[in-house]
Subunit: 200 residues, 2 copies
Amino acid sequence: MTAPRRNERSRRAILAAALELLSETSYPDLTIEAIAARAGVGKQTIYRWWRSKGMVILEALVDSAGEPGDMALPDTGDLRADLRTVLRATVAEFADPRLSATTRAITIETLADDDLAEQVRDQLLRPQLSAVRERLRAGRRAGQVHESVDLDLAVELLFGPIYHRWLLRNGPLTEAYADDLVDLAMAAMAPGRSRLEAAP
Amino acid sequence: MTAPRRNERSRRAILAAALELLSETSYPDLTIEAIAARAGVGKQTIYRWWRSKGMVILEALVDSAGEPGDMALPDTGDLRADLRTVLRATVAEFADPRLSATTRAITIETLADDDLAEQVRDQLLRPQLSAVRERLRAGRRAGQVHESVDLDLAVELLFGPIYHRWLLRNGPLTEAYADDLVDLAMAAMAPGRSRLEAAP
């Protein structure tokens, strides 16, 4: 199926309306009708361009996240400090009731919709995770990360526990938690110890 | 509200029917009606005793998991080998299409239902995670885990990346992945290196 041609001004109005409404109401209460009314378009326009509410929100979030290049992590030369900055921000997002409600709703939709899941992963999450991986790569060049560490796995070691704790509501999501997690992950990646012990 | 009194024989028949049907059909296609028919009870009986399909399945899974004591990990004295055993089994569950579909459905329901989330966490997941934590505690007593490591965080370091990869469908869920994850987590927990570097 060919995607229907979109009017860029309407598209921007719709995405801006979606984000505005998302900050005013909860995701489950957010309707296509309300987005259309706020954007000053007919709701059929939205249904023509997007398959579901989840797809509208995804595109709004992707647009507001900016270009992948904008997501580059700070590189102060201090890997631990830079990772703390990004993990504290991530933990704060998951701890924020409104942002968490949006993430929960998007997660539910992605668990139920393979196509949306793929787009969320490729357009929203991978650029963020790649930015962290590139910061780790710079850290490896600077001798702060062991050569043998799989950087994709290292990224999962940093973010996986946060998702796990958030999903299971299994403990507080605090700055101290973010810092402890960075310390433990840094210990896993440390160049100082022999990797021979880790061999099978 | 007082929970209606349950007939133990009917309860067992219903839970057994639920698990049987879950192995024959997908979770979304599983209905209360089908469970009632298989168990030989009226569907009103099920509605009277459980609030939702998710609650029936949860109780069936909890019952089939056995007593918390049954979940204790093997302790061969080789912490790495024991963790590999449990992580390989966990990764295999997430990689299995049918089990994964059930986990996905339960996850969706828990994201949408706080009460179910609490029960899944307390009755199903915490006993499993506690079993791993107790194995790590034994490892610490045996000098294989650094004194300063927060064991709850260490458990999240082992399971969080698996959930993350499964949720994001961001890479293969294989034995090699389980083993690499154990190695990286073991490096994080290793007693051999100074924790002073990890201080703020």
